[in-house]
Every structure is written in C-alpha cells, then in structure tokens.
C-alpha cells in the first residue's frame, strides 16, 4: 500500500490509524449514567422484569433488570430525584418485580432505558413528576 502511494505513503497510514483511534474513542464500551434525555428516544417505553442489582448513588441510580432472560439497564435520576420520589436505600430489593416507564436509548443495540417512574410492590416511585407519559 505504502509503495503504491509513493512519497506520502509513510504518513498516510499513520494518519488513518490516528483518525480511526480517535473515532474509536467516541464509541462507548457500555453506556450508563447519561446526562439529560437527548440520548433517549421520544416515544414512551415500558418494561417489566426482575431486579438483579440496585445502585442508588451518584451521579445517577441504576437498576439491572432481567426481562425474560435479557438483561436491561434501567437508569434512574440523580440521588436528589431518587430521594424526592421517596425511594430509600433498602426500599426495594433484588429479586422483586419492577415495572419501569420512561424512554429507551436511541442506540437500539443496547438494552438501556431511563426511567421517569418505576413501580415496585405496588408503590409508584415518580422521579420526574413534571414529565408526562
């Protein structure tokens, strides 16, 4: 390749490698703790599954949910909104069924959503009361 391109042959593959590496850096290995809603779809999205792990700390809460064998990441709001919804550490536990309503990631290859509200054991925890849907 470098023989064919002649003089600039040495510089070009390097530059291509550099650009490729730079672009590779922009692709997330796994998504979590997004700011805002722009990364998610507009349409309402809902799921029901079994809670496998619970994180209610900063910067955002996160539930790992088993939906009929497929693992989903359900992002919650920041700790202030989690407290505002009345959800405390120990208030929900692994193995419980959760219904989550919110918005799915625009990246359909990942099982990720951000919840506006979740329901566990009949109790609704509304993290974003001002967001309809």
């Amino acid at each position: 390749m470098s023989e064919v391109t002649g003089k600039s042959g040495n510089a070009k593959p390097d530059r291509r490698l550099f650009i490729a590496s730079a672009l590779a850096l922009l692709v997330p290995a796994r998504a979590f703790a997004h700011h805002g809603w722009r990364w998610a779809e507009d349409g309402q999205f809902e799921l029901t599954g079994i809670i496998r792990s619970i994180y209610l700390g900063p910067p955002h809460g996160l539930l790992d949910v088993d939906v009929e064998g497929a693992m989903w990441k359900v992002e919650l709001g920041p700790p202030s909104r989690i407290r505002g919804a009345g959800l405390k550490e120990g208030g929900i536990s692994e193995g419980q069924e959760v219904f989550a309503s919110g918005h799915r990631s625009k990246n359909r290859s990942e099982n990720v959503m951000k919840a506006e509200r979740i329901t566990v054991a009949g109790i609704v925890y509304d993290f974003y009361p001002n967001r309809s849907g």
Binding site: P28, R30, H34, P58, P79
Partner: protein, 143 residues
C-alpha cells in the same frame, strides 16, 4: 460519597473549580509561549501562572479520583475516560519537560522577551492537550 447527599455535588463543584484554575492559568502562559504578548516578561508570567495551574491540577486530580471511586470499574472501562487519563499524563509530561530545557531554567537570568521554537511547541501542545482533557471529561456523562 453515597452517605452524604451533598458530598458528591460538592466534589463535582470542586472539580470544576480545579479545572477553571488549571486551564484559566495555563492558557495565557501557553499563548505567551506561542508568541503572544512578547512584551510581557515570560519569567514573571511563569512565576504567577505555574503555581496557580499546579494548584488547579492538584484539586482536579483529587476530586476527579473521588468521583471515579463511586463506580471505578465502570468509569475506567470507558474509552473516553481512558483517553482522558492518558491526555492528563501527557499534559503533565509536557509541562515537566519544559523544566529540562536550559532556556526555561535560566528564564530569570536571560532576556525573557520573545520566545523560541521549543516554547512555541510546548505551548501549543499544552493548550491542545488540556482542551482535549476538558472535552473528554464533559463527554463522560453523555456516552
């Protein structure tokens, strides 16, 4: 960090203050190295801006480490975080490398007006690296 509701936001605030001190101090110095404001003696500018940027760096590293610690494995697995850490290391090495340049060490004794090619490059790399660090940092919350 998870027990006290105000702790994480406070550390987050401190991180921004650290970055502001670091970048706010280093950018004028970088531009001077690149050849702006040649009438201002570099030795005096350096005497003010280097300690301020070092303080900022120290604050940013301390608070940054604390914020990573809440979900260390997840954060360190992110390519954008890895890129940021490499860039921070490069930025520090670039700054330290100036200390072995004879002209930099003798800045107070020699006529410091003007600049040299080695300084121009150091200033350019510094500005580019720290700007990229801020970009990577901002991206962490959105990827």
């Amino acid at each position: 960090m998870r027990r006290e509701p105000w702790l994480y936001p406070f550390v987050n605030f401190g991180h921004v203050v650290g970055i502001a001190l670091l970048f706010g101090a280093i950018l004028p110095l970088d531009l001077r190295l690149m050849g702006f404001w040649k009438a201002v003696p570099l030795a005096e500018l350096k005497r003010v801006l280097v300690p301020v940027s070092m303080l900022g760096l120290l604050i940013a590293i301390t608070t940054g480490t604390l914020m990573i610690s809440v979900k260390a494995t997840d954060y360190l697995a992110m390519p954008v975080m890895q890129a940021k850490l490499v860039l921070v290391a490069l930025g520090i090495l670039n700054a330290l490398s100036l200390r072995i340049v004879p002209a930099w060490r003798l800045l107070a004794q020699v006529d410091s007006r003007g600049t040299i090619s080695r300084f121009r490059w150091a200033g350019f790399f510094s500005a580019a690296i720290w700007l990229s660090v801020i970009g990577c940092g901002r991206a962490i919350g959105y990827l």
